[in-house]
């Protein structure tokens, strides 16, 4: 066995939820094989921090249809960029779904932003592949980051729906200082997560 193969991480058996979000999410590990939906103005930070531990453990991440994602923010959240790929699939529904299905074959986590309209059959087939591969599909309502944005319905039925709304920011003092951290109201709803509930968390903690 070579040194490289000894030291190469392999995909982890579980995708742990970061310690400081565990209480709010109500789970120790993200449910593999399932679909998550992240909404609210802090949806992207939330999604990045949820998948970061898995990538550090060796999981591969595909970011699909989020061309404006800030790699610096992803790195700060702890995402292993050396196992992250950014994909811009074709806009046509069927081809888009086929690209995503091909990605799921090799990638452990897919972070998906804007999606074209795809047929329910394609959605079912894709979710079945995600389940068979024990991957994780994270839908991010990126448009919701804008002030005044209307929440969009997820294009695939999620097993777990999270909404992160920023309640306040620390660090700004009328021209002085800079953004340091924010308090987020995190609402979690899902079949396996018990009754819907809301927690306040600080990010970065």
């Amino acid at each position: 066995m070579t040194a490289a193969s000894l030291d190469a991480p392999t995909a982890p058996p579980t995708f742990p939820v970061p310690d400081d979000l565990r209480g709010a999410v109500g789970l120790a590990d993200l449910p593999r094989g399932r679909t998550l939906h992240c909404a609210g103005d802090a949806c992207l930070s939330l999604a990045l921090s949820l998948v970061a531990p898995a990538t550090r453990l060796g999981a591969w991440l595909a970011v699909v249809g989020i061309p404006s994602l800030g790699a610096q923010a992803a790195a700060e959240q702890g995402v292993a960029l050396e196992r992250t790929i950014f994909v811009h699939p074709p806009a046509a529904g069927a081809e888009w779904a086929a690209s995503l299905a091909a990605l799921v074959e090799g990638f452990d986590v897919a972070l998906v932003g804007a999606a074209p309209s795809i047929s329910p059959t394609h959605v079912r087939r894709l979710q079945a592949r995600v389940q068979a591969r024990r991957a994780l599909l994270v839908l991010v309502d990126v448009a919701a980051a804008w002030p005044g944005a209307r929440p969009a319905a997820p294009w695939a039925p999620p097993d777990l729906a999270l909404r992160a709304t920023t309640r306040s920011w620390e660090g700004l003092e009328h021209g002085a200082g800079h953004l340091r951290r924010r308090q987020i109201a995190l609402r979690v709803e899902g079949r396996r997560a018990g009754p819907p509930r809301e927690h306040l968390v600080w990010r970065p903690s």
Partner: protein, 473 residues
Amino acid sequence: MTPAALHAPHVVNGAAPPRLVVIEAPAVRWADALAAVGEWVPLLEPAAEGRCVFAARGPSRAMGGEAEMARRLSALVAAHGPPGATAPVGVGVADSRFAALAAARESLEAGAPVVVPPGGTPAWLAPRTVRLLARCAEVDPEVVGLLERLGLARLGDVAALEESLVAGRFGALGLEMHRLARGDDRHPALAVAPPPVESRREAFDGPLPEAALVVAAAARLADPFLAHFAARGALVTHVVVRCEHESPAGAGVLERAWYLPEGATAAALVERVRWMLRDWRAGGVTALELRAEGARAATGRQLGLWGGRGPGDEAALRAIDRLRATLGDGALRVAAPSGGRDPGEAYALVPLEARGEAAPAPPPWRGAIPRPSPALVGVPGAAIDVRDAAGATVRVSARHEPSAEPARVHIGARDYDVVGWAGPWPVEERWWDPSRRRRRARMQVVVRGDGDAHVAMLVALEDGAWRLAALYA
């Protein structure tokens, strides 16, 4: 703490560096020699065939001082040489692993133990050649050759350099060489908080009679053990494997320390357990424990797209190949450090084909917006305007002062109330070239969105017009 320890040089975090012993004996029956040393040393690390490392404290107390310990252990190991001949044995004692190994190598040639006095490691290393970095610390000989061509022939020359200079020229490797040359340990102390759980233990229902079963148990333990650290951004560098066993002759414990400078992986740990059990003969194993004794922040480890492959990596790379075939070049991108003052400029998304060598994360540029960085950058240009309470566009003077406090941000067809702001921070690029000169002023603004969400954004003023530069999504 004794007064001597209080005055010891190179005190890190209030503790003197541990004294380390390296024994190097290439020509002895190693398993037997190791067992003999193990009688005196509670916890030893079989670093390689013919070499072991351990802390000096326990055995030097038991044997009446470091010099006496070195002499007696040397004789003990030499007794396991080929029949009728005295095998050469090197024993080195120093304040760092690198120096102790270098001392052991010198001892091997000189035929007598080399004990570097406490606190004297930097001075002992200083006149010695930088080639020791290649011989005793596995630094690339070409890099060492480069040091020599730069006129840095001795370790003291490297230690005397400004740390930032070495880092600038050689990056992370430079910092590592600087630490080694100074007589410090290879990695700085753990930069993240020590994880709360440090060990995993499995007690078996009955004694396991076969090494293969114990190795399988090690594989089961290794994953959650390492996951615990990885989820905290830490790599385990020092692991103690404890094997409790029993036989008709009685119960016993086999404990070994392992140093994994690149960070322990499950495969590496399982391999170490297999080595430990290689010479194990009678009885059954009743419990196995993995314990972390040292860790460091996981920084700058570049594998994945830049090589170093495991089975999960192969699957991902195959998927990438298939997608490239259907989507064409340029559809797949990777984040490569580029450096820049705007959050969108620290990394560039470059086509997969165009990625260069693995590079460490870029240091923040002067004038960069402080962390946390926005998650959406270079957002498509919606028309925005930053206005004061009277509804006039906020201007920024040549002295970087706003004409008035921003009160509202106009986006699309709506106004949003400003609840907080900071800046403006100026950027002037290529000021020496009038035709390409860019002047911008940037501000962080928090507005009240729908549902009372406090939406933070980075806005930039250039040529009299505001644009949205980034969203803290």
